[in-house]
């Protein structure tokens, strides 16, 4: 009997949107926001991810959620550019761009980036919430990787213990700035990983879904982001860019180039079945042993007993039934 699937409110909304035939454009974004947890957005110098992040934020806002943005890289004014007033009213910008390290020695300095992030772990609002981190790279450069991962984990799991549903955490990550270790650690925390790439002036998103107890699923989508931060999906180009290979999967067939057989032919199987094992005692072996004449024995054993030897004239094998 299969276990019933538990759909979050977001998941039900995504299905409803699909059934109602709302534009295909929002389908991709909804599928990224449907399951909660950490959505890792990996960008590069050439293919910037902030517009995609803003598109996801717009989608969340249209679903009626409140979005908290931890802004470390650009000013609030620049971040809000392009959003209409409806969306801007739902976005709360925590400004850590102007003075993130408290160089102005402001007495009234509210809190640093990590404290602001930890405060988001204690939700006071019952409405569903999306948290956008702009960017995770800034946090990783200034705080130890383990601290950042622990804080992210606490953020993502707050839905388990509070009446609020699971929270979406959108993290923007600049791939070139980090070594394989921190990247791998964040990958393992993420439910969904979106890697931005492109070719010939067109952008693509390679999406990796990691649902618990399921195999990871890949999807590649070509798109462009319109000035109002809605997404325009495009057909795949013939010049597909190579997706970034997942470092955990090996593409080598392990059954190739072996020095032993994994399979037996019919003849080999018959030969194997008819083979007598050396230590298996069958009636033929018994006869062979009894028939061997003691006078024909070719070997003798000469034994010189010591002074301390306890020689027992009885044969200890007498009670064996041979």
């Amino acid at each position: 009997m299969p276990r019933p699937v538990h759909w979050s409110r977001r998941g039900r909304d995504a299905i409803r949107a699909r059934l109602s035939g709302r534009g295909q454009q929002s389908e991709m974004l909804e599928s990224l926001l449907a399951f909660g947890g950490l959505v890792l957005l990996r960008d590069s110098i050439e293919w910037e991810g902030r517009d995609f992040l803003k598109a996801l934020i717009k989608q969340s806002a249209l679903c009626g959620e409140q979005i908290h943005v931890l802004g470390c890289e650009i000013s609030e004014e620049e971040f809000r550019e392009g959003f209409d007033s409806n969306i801007n009213s739902r976005v709360v910008y925590h400004d850590l761009f102007r003075d993130p390290l408290n160089w102005s020695k402001n007495e009234a300095f509210p809190r640093g980036p990590l404290e602001a992030l930890r405060a988001m772990c204690r939700p006071t609002d019952l409405r569903p919430v999306t948290i956008a981190l702009d960017s995770l790279s800034w946090l990783l450069l200034h705080f130890p990787c383990s601290t950042v991962c622990q804080t992210l984990h606490a953020l993502c799991r707050q839905g388990d213990s509070s009446p609020v549903e699971r929270v979406n955490v959108l993290g923007l990550l600049h791939e070139e700035l980090h070594a394989a270790g921190p990247l791998g650690a964040l990958s393992s925390l993420a439910q969904i990983e979106v890697t931005l790439d492109g070719t010939m002036g067109r952008t693509s998103a390679h999406i990796l879904y990691r649902k618990p107890r399921h195999r990871p699923a890949h999807q590649t989508q070509w798109f462009s982001i319109l000035p109002d931060f809605s997404v325009d999906l495009q057909e795949g180009s013939t010049l597909q860019s190579q997706p970034h290979s997942d470092p955990h999967t090996l593409l080598v067939d392990p059954t190739a180039h072996l020095t032993f057989n994994l399979r037996l032919s019919k003849k080999e199987r018959e030969t194997r079945d008819s083979l007598t094992l050396p230590f298996q005692f069958s009636s033929e072996k018994q006869q062979a042993l009894l028939c061997s004449e003691p006078s024909q024995a070719s070997s003798h054993i000469f034994y010189e007993p010591d002074a301390y030897d306890d020689l027992d004239p009885e044969d200890p094998d007498d009670d064996l039934d041979i």
Partner: protein, 267 residues
């Protein structure tokens, strides 16, 4: 493609989008300092207030080149348009005596320089708007030559990124000015700190000008190629205009740019 004066062309490319932006000058296997001289003379001629943090050359060096390009740094300095931090000269104050108060190059004395806050304070003071009255100069500009040398002086890459972050917040966002900085890309995979610095700065930049040597080696008539990459394209920039490549030749008083393979010397 007509061989227009290179500086005119570059200026036309960048003019409308240059305000309030960070422009990163990057060079790989060649010397990109001609870009620094260009931007210095360009902003001085445009009557902007310029703060120049010169870490690698002396004042007279920039002055001589500036005169070829039509500006006098001495005059600009005298009338208050140019604030010049000559690190080669100022560092002697730090090395041979203990400074009385905070000094912009304080990190030279510290065993492990944690941050560049005193240098940022110097920049902030140099470019703060004049009190009262009308502004004599147009929007402020910070020019740094160059940032890679800070790594050699013991400053960590994250500290340099933080310094540029704070300068960007003040100069670009608050004062709506420009920030232009040169960094060397060694292309050496073993130099992780420099890679981190170049990548981190690239992510913060709006415009990246990358001067590279030719792949085929040194050439008398084509000194290198320049790649122009617009990032953080505000909605106005179309996707196809984001990246351009030119080849260039540096002459005595100017630089000429042309499309790849179309140098007059080879046609």
């Amino acid at each position: 493609m007509a061989d227009r004066s290179g500086y005119q062309q570059m200026t036309a490319l960048g003019r409308s989008r240059l305000k309030g932006k960070l422009t990163l000058l990057c060079d790989a296997k060649t010397d990109g300092s001609f870009l620094v001289h260009h931007f210095l003379s360009f902003f001085l001629k445009a009557k902007c207030k310029v703060c120049f943090v010169a870490l690698v050359q002396s004042f007279s060096h920039y002055n001589i080149v500036g005169q070829k390009l039509g500006v006098s740094l001495t005059t600009a300095w005298e009338r208050g348009q140019l604030v010049f931090l000559e690190a080669l000269k100022t560092s002697l104050d730090i090395f041979f005596q203990t400074p009385a108060g905070p000094h912009p190059l304080q990190f030279l004395r510290e065993a492990s320089a944690r941050n560049l806050q005193p240098l940022y304070a110097f920049v902030q003071e140099a470019l703060k708007p004049e009190d009262g009255g009308e502004a004599t100069w147009r929007h402020p500009v910070l020019l740094v030559d160059d940032l890679s040398v800070l790594l050699s002086l013991g400053v960590r890459a994250v500290a340099v990124l933080d310094f540029i972050h704070y300068c960007r917040a003040t100069v670009c966002t608050e004062l709506k000015g420009n920030l232009v900085a040169l960094v060397h890309d060694s292309g050496d995979a073993a130099d992780e700190e420099n890679d981190l610095l170049v990548s981190g700065l690239s992510h913060q930049s709006h415009l990246i000008l990358r001067a590279e040597g030719l792949a085929t080696g040194f050439c008398k008539d084509v000194h290198g190629q320049l790649k122009v990459l617009w990032r953080r394209p505000s909605q106005a920039a179309a996707q196809r205009d984001r990246s351009l490549t030119y080849q260039y030749k540096i002459q005595d008083k100017t630089v000429s740019f042309f499309a790849k393979g179309l140098s007059p010397a080879v046609l």
